[in-house]
């Protein structure tokens, strides 16, 4: 019985810590500007901005997955959910004015992915910084 209690308490404690540990990840340079200007990113019709953001946060893998197959296999171009757009807005710039790879530790993608322990496979092939200006 006492053992059960210990397990129960540690689970409670763990979830409390996990909760208090929540913080907004490094949004990246353009996304931060966008937010500071008061613009509503990822806003969907018929949904509040807050709800749209939650949806984006929860479902970005599904959205990207769906689009990726359409683009590559059927040749559907343009539209929402393009990985290069994610990278474009959510990368940061370091002191030297260079873009930091979005999957680097403490950057936009890595923050959450490391915390929840899910692999981040996009960038084993995709470019991690916005394309160089031509």
């Amino acid at each position: 019985m006492s053992r059960l209690l210990v397990v129960f308490l540690s689970v409670m404690l763990g979830s409390a810590i996990a909760h208090s540990d929540y913080h907004i990840p490094n949004l990246g340079e353009k996304a931060t500007e966008f937010k500071d200007e008061g613009k509503e990113a990822h806003k969907r019709e018929g949904m509040s901005h807050a709800a749209s953001l939650i949806l984006q946060r929860k479902m970005h893998p599904e959205l990207l997955l769906h689009k990726r197959d359409k683009t590559l296999r059927q040749g559907v171009r343009g539209g929402y959910a393009q990985l290069k757009e994610c990278v474009e807005c959510h990368t940061s710039v370091d002191k030297n004015g260079e873009h930091v790879p979005i999957n680097a530790p403490d950057q936009f993608c890595a923050t959450c992915h490391e915390k929840v322990g899910t692999s981040l496979d996009c960038f084993s092939c995709h470019r991690t910084t916005p394309a160089e200006e031509l």
Partner: protein
């Protein structure tokens, strides 16, 4: 009581799953306040192809085509791969007829077959052919088994033997997957020509829709004699050659 609980639990969780599914399917219907529109999927009303006239093609031309391809897709700067490990999406091949001693030079790349052996053998459907005839590797699904490279009659595919970074935005490439000529699908979808064709800008290489009777390539193919490499395999390639 316990039994009831379990049943209730199943009922409830089904309801939750169903509502999640409804929300999820609703999402694809929810549109964005602003954003670019998606294009329609490509269809088999088009079949992209290329005609390479080796009589008009100089060796320098072919080298230009190769470097244009490297520039466009960012291959060829691998530092660790040696010899045959280096990628070669397009290469210059020089052949001599054993009877007549006639020498011709040609650019060899993925021939974008109508019946591609690489697509037949791929266990995961990563090797695929788009409706408009462009043969691609879906690197999201490629497990790096290299069976497609065994099956390709044209030695057209390369395996990425090392870690890469700083890829081109339109051309993701990564260690452990197979890659080959995409016929510059990202440009073709925008209505442009493949990089190697643009680099040459002469009538030695014609690119276009093989099925369109008004296209330059369709009419040229009607007029001049042309061949497919390994025509005996009946693969009906999208890339054709004349003068060999």
């Amino acid at each position: 009581m316990k039994e009831l609980n379990r049943r209730e639990f199943i009922k409830n969780s089904t309801a939750v799953t169903a509502s999640v599914a409804t929300v999820a399917s609703g999402i694809s219907l929810t549109t964005f306040a602003a954003g670019p529109k998606e294009t329609d999927p490509v269809t088999n009303e088009k079949r992209w192809g290329m005609l390479i006239d080796t009589n008009k093609l100089t060796e320098v031309d072919i080298e230009d085509m190769v470097s244009a391809c490297q520039e466009e897709h960012g291959w060829g700067e691998e530092t660790h791969s040696t010899g045959d490990q280096k990628p070669g999406w397009i290469k210059k091949v020089k052949v001599k007829d054993t009877a007549t001693q006639r020498i011709s030079n040609l650019a060899l790349m993925c021939q974008h077959c109508e019946e591609p052996p690489c697509v037949d053998v791929c266990p995961t459907n990563a090797s695929m052919k788009r409706e408009d005839g462009i043969v691609l590797v879906d690197k999201h699904r490629c497990i790096g088994c290299r069976y497609c490279m065994m099956a390709c009659p044209y030695d057209a595919r390369s395996f990425v033997h090392e870690d890469l970074s700083n890829q081109k935005e339109h051309m993701p490439r990564g260690k452990g997957t197979v890659e080959s000529c995409t016929l510059c699908v990202h440009k073709v979808d925008k209505g442009e020509q493949p990089a190697c064709v643009e680099a040459l800008n002469s009538d030695a290489v014609v690119f276009g829709d093989l099925l369109d009777p008004t296209s330059n390539i369709h009419q040229t193919l009607k007029r001049v004699q042309s061949t497919q490499i390994r025509a005996d395999l009946n693969l009906n390639t999208g890339v054709r050659y004349s003068g060999i």
